[in-house]
Symmetry: D2
Subunit: 374 residues, 4 copies
Amino acid sequence: MSHNSFGHLFRVTTWGESHGPALGCVVDGCPPGLLISAETIQQWLDRRRPGGSRFVTQRQEPDAVEILSGVFEDDRTNGLVTTGTPISLMIRNVDQRSKDYGDIRDRYRPGHADYVYDMKYGVRDYRGGGRSSARETAARVAAGAVARLVLPGVTIRGAMIQMGPHRIDRARWDWSAVDENPFFCPDPVAAKEWEVFLDGVRKEGSSIGAVLEVVAEGVPAGLGAPVYAKLDQDICSALMSINAVKGVEIGDGFASATLSGEDNADEMRLGANGQPVFLSNHAGGILGGISTGEPIVARFAIKPTSSILTHRRSISATGEEVDLRTKGRHDPCVGIRAVPVGEAMLACVLADHLLRHRAQTGRPGPADYPLHRA
Amino acid sequence: MSHNSFGHLFRVTTWGESHGPALGCVVDGCPPGLLISAETIQQWLDRRRPGGSRFVTQRQEPDAVEILSGVFEDDRTNGLVTTGTPISLMIRNVDQRSKDYGDIRDRYRPGHADYVYDMKYGVRDYRGGGRSSARETAARVAAGAVARLVLPGVTIRGAMIQMGPHRIDRARWDWSAVDENPFFCPDPVAAKEWEVFLDGVRKEGSSIGAVLEVVAEGVPAGLGAPVYAKLDQDICSALMSINAVKGVEIGDGFASATLSGEDNADEMRLGANGQPVFLSNHAGGILGGISTGEPIVARFAIKPTSSILTHRRSISATGEEVDLRTKGRHDPCVGIRAVPVGEAMLACVLADHLLRHRAQTGRPGPADYPLHRA
Amino acid sequence: MSHNSFGHLFRVTTWGESHGPALGCVVDGCPPGLLISAETIQQWLDRRRPGGSRFVTQRQEPDAVEILSGVFEDDRTNGLVTTGTPISLMIRNVDQRSKDYGDIRDRYRPGHADYVYDMKYGVRDYRGGGRSSARETAARVAAGAVARLVLPGVTIRGAMIQMGPHRIDRARWDWSAVDENPFFCPDPVAAKEWEVFLDGVRKEGSSIGAVLEVVAEGVPAGLGAPVYAKLDQDICSALMSINAVKGVEIGDGFASATLSGEDNADEMRLGANGQPVFLSNHAGGILGGISTGEPIVARFAIKPTSSILTHRRSISATGEEVDLRTKGRHDPCVGIRAVPVGEAMLACVLADHLLRHRAQTGRPGPADYPLHRA
Amino acid sequence: MSHNSFGHLFRVTTWGESHGPALGCVVDGCPPGLLISAETIQQWLDRRRPGGSRFVTQRQEPDAVEILSGVFEDDRTNGLVTTGTPISLMIRNVDQRSKDYGDIRDRYRPGHADYVYDMKYGVRDYRGGGRSSARETAARVAAGAVARLVLPGVTIRGAMIQMGPHRIDRARWDWSAVDENPFFCPDPVAAKEWEVFLDGVRKEGSSIGAVLEVVAEGVPAGLGAPVYAKLDQDICSALMSINAVKGVEIGDGFASATLSGEDNADEMRLGANGQPVFLSNHAGGILGGISTGEPIVARFAIKPTSSILTHRRSISATGEEVDLRTKGRHDPCVGIRAVPVGEAMLACVLADHLLRHRAQTGRPGPADYPLHRA
């Protein structure tokens, strides 16, 4: 089966191919009465939009979003508000150049989903990867923009922390640097080095992988569930659903394996205001599937772009061995554009869990169970 | 909300606390007509069962499974068969020793879900972690045993490949070694070293993390979906839902970040029988969310057991700062017992996707779309 | 596929056959902190229990419920409370007499699900109808008892309003009469007549259908949704899922077809307290899929018990034409025992929608949007 | 919560308001490789389209459908085929006349969802009923057109069988008459009478209810499930989700209540070809939640249009008592346009269950379990 929805209460369904007339999403379950505008959504789409630098595909897509439903402007309100009904968002495809893809109609590009599509569906839209094109992620970013409206007080940010073998120095982490280089890199020194590195990759017609980190601050304690709707599980699932992602971790992640119980356990104390304080955040803001109130930290690894200019061995749909290089306009490091996508997915998961939490407690935000003081 | 089901067509709902009368699961969606027996399920539970060595909790639980529904013995069949109706499996709790937990009734154990439970629910069953106890995983293993019945021809195996900082040598990988040491370690040399290492950890009252690997062989190409029911996404979600897991990766995983497009793409050729052959498996058997026919390889990192004998700083539910050490019977490396659990989760995901695939194609197994030969 | 769950946030999964060792349900999504006890659940089961009069099956089942999980007794609480985790309820089968069913092993009883089971599953548990036995409804009643805990202030009651061709006189409706006759009949005069009528049916070895009505009072306005989670839609689905139900209606139901727009529209005025008042309730408490605050009124029709002592023509699983009468212990009017089941299903749907509403508004009960006063 | 999806494997999500820029649906789960065209979908939309006669709203909507995704034209195929990915269908709103609705902005129209919308959402799009407008059903009809592609060999037809108090004579039932009168009436004599009757209703500015019947022929035995995905349950849920529906029944429906077990049970014999034959169809093609192979027969009652020209008492959102008549263009009998909608919903449910059945059996159509011949 094809399944194209995620989320339980804040549910997003995306649709559309890279080379069809349009793509979009339906956001179902957004609470009513939230101020919304196409401009708000557009600003997030613009962050993801290709064509911004020489390091991303040169395809020119304005990615202009249209809000087709679920909103209403009443003179009792200050502008457009959500009505609680499904919000349909559409983005027209503009710069498609389908002819670029004719020569791979019958050939399976290595590292791409071409072969498995044929195995699954028996028919595939070979233009630009069809449904598995990264263009689908524009719809995710639009949905994430709506999710952010459900999360006032929560800050969700992302960054690229490793390109190929080159990792940032976390001591130099500066969120303000993220928007000042073409890589969403929080380390200005690393960003300079990556520029040289990626120019080399690009000129060779090669590509390279990356590691990204997304962080949510301001998430209150108590979101999630202990067994199969774990907050970390749903975040991992959401990030893993992004194209080309091959690994996901929370907090110390794989490094936890090397820690002792003493080192790993985040100790607690009471803060100045008498509220619980964690003295470290190895857990990445989630214990037993439930948020602790500390920043939620997730990282995900993205493989190198599969479309490269080097010939690779493959086969054709007609049963011949072929050698194949992928022409066309592509990203030397698809990880770059995945930063806004990762943020959007994290926002959607948190919005969903906030609504789930409300269902349980009947309160606007997470539980505020007082400590059982004597 | 509490959610305790996973799977879309092969759906498992688990229930039960560590210290209640019983725990169990309902497996819904299992096809009819499959031979089943309590013994078949029991053998997998026995693999996971604590009490087997000095390296796992000394709690003595027979974990004897009862099949309460969904099966029928007819004289037209050779024994018990599934009927297509929900299979209810129950395991009685036997060795509970609730008094061990009285002293943490009002204290939040660091690294445990105690604090977040109170934040989420406002009430918690403090005996043994309640719902977030690793005992819940017995129900998963039972469900996984049923899932395996849906997957004839598929071999699902797991192993521990890293304990603390000590990684196996993959050149020495030997599946037959896995059952000959207390760690499910496929490297007999490493297993010897781990024994010494973990004895040290245990004697110090400390604990250590681990990395596990699960592999499914014989999975045909074509299972999964390109967007939100990606096979890798569902595997990650399932593995991440296991207690103490902090990271998951598929194929080359986080190492993909350092690869070039040329190195990462698995090339294809036609094999001796004219069928497609991949020349490598960096993808871990999944491309674009869909199985390739190569072995599916997933790894997951498990943090060290949070229950340790060293005092750690924490707070109480009554708002005081406390120092806390966890007495009781615990595992120095919970990762060990997670091997059968990881296998079970992988089996459940594959069974679910096999049924989804049938829905699409109307065929017993995955699509056998012939290559479009001239 | 077999599907055995209903509800979105308050989700019930039932399992168990008529002649297996036990049956039960898992109630997932029940909020934490609600007082609960086996006795509370048992009282509703006792209402449904067969063996109470000569008009229901003489099978003797104590239907004693065990709570296996999801509850906890803490000395800070006054007895057992829900913990927010799945509540597993089990009822052992006691009086099964499997041998009664041997002679229909290979024969399809007319009006029963025997034939379609074989067409769907290719294997069936022929003892007592297996999964399609009315015994499954005991699990529903147990779940409904939990649902009622979520709905303080809501009164849910049911009655039989027609037996065969004999309808009650609504002018004589008296809720207190319902528990004073073996038919849950609110009209004491009709109840007397039905007794004579049903004795005749029973002595002939025949059976008869019925119409039931369930009413929920105290449901606030605003529960439901305008399109595919309509409150009336979910109520109909829940009632239609009860064995032998062939029709469902809300408010004026089928009679609405004969009404003019003027007669059908429930007019509104402001009541003594300035709150909105409906002057009639043709809508049965639901407009556009959303509750109005008026009593919710649903009716459902139940066909006559299919097991009768008269020979009927049928076929065998081995392809022969046979004549068949069903021996064993059966109800001359299965509609009787469906009254507590209908109440339970209505309670489950309302609990589910209350939680959905909370998710949207973040308030314990339904929206209390003030009228937009000048 | 707002929920706007239905179906489990063949899943439809609709979006759009009466007076927004467009409405539409996403059909997810449609198998790949089915021939499809906008024209095929359009023909069903044209059947539902208002403006066809003086008996339906004079709103002029071309209801032209655009296929935005999920299809592909390859020169290996004879035209457009489904790809197995989500099919996004959009219909632009054209003739909206929003000013007609200004005067009910703050007033609750009796019989409409206006009041409950405010209670649920606290904000509403008052133009034309927003989401609860019957225009939403255009999206259902489009989805139903796709569902029919999944059901080759199944004929799904609908008819109006009662208008107000006037019921057809079933002895005169003639499917070919249905398209020859403005009422989808299968009885040509009744159709003539209804014309006179409805002209009277229309001229009075009043409205009237109706009863509709939908029938699916060619549905094989074995679709459905015995407990909570009963075929009849899902059909009832789907029909009940249509605007203004107040009752649903299957087969003999409410009349079953008056039948004896002997009369109600459909007897069986072997037909000329040795296949099972039912001698009657009181069950309406469904026993125990599973299809029997006989025609599936469902009826549903539709209340009179709530928009009428007579003044009715109501209240305003600002807390005043008002008298209200609804101007604008409306249907004197909304039941008429519900016939294609009922057909579409039945098609969607059957497509969903066919896919579910495939999942279980791994066969293209329903199980073909041979009778267990000696």
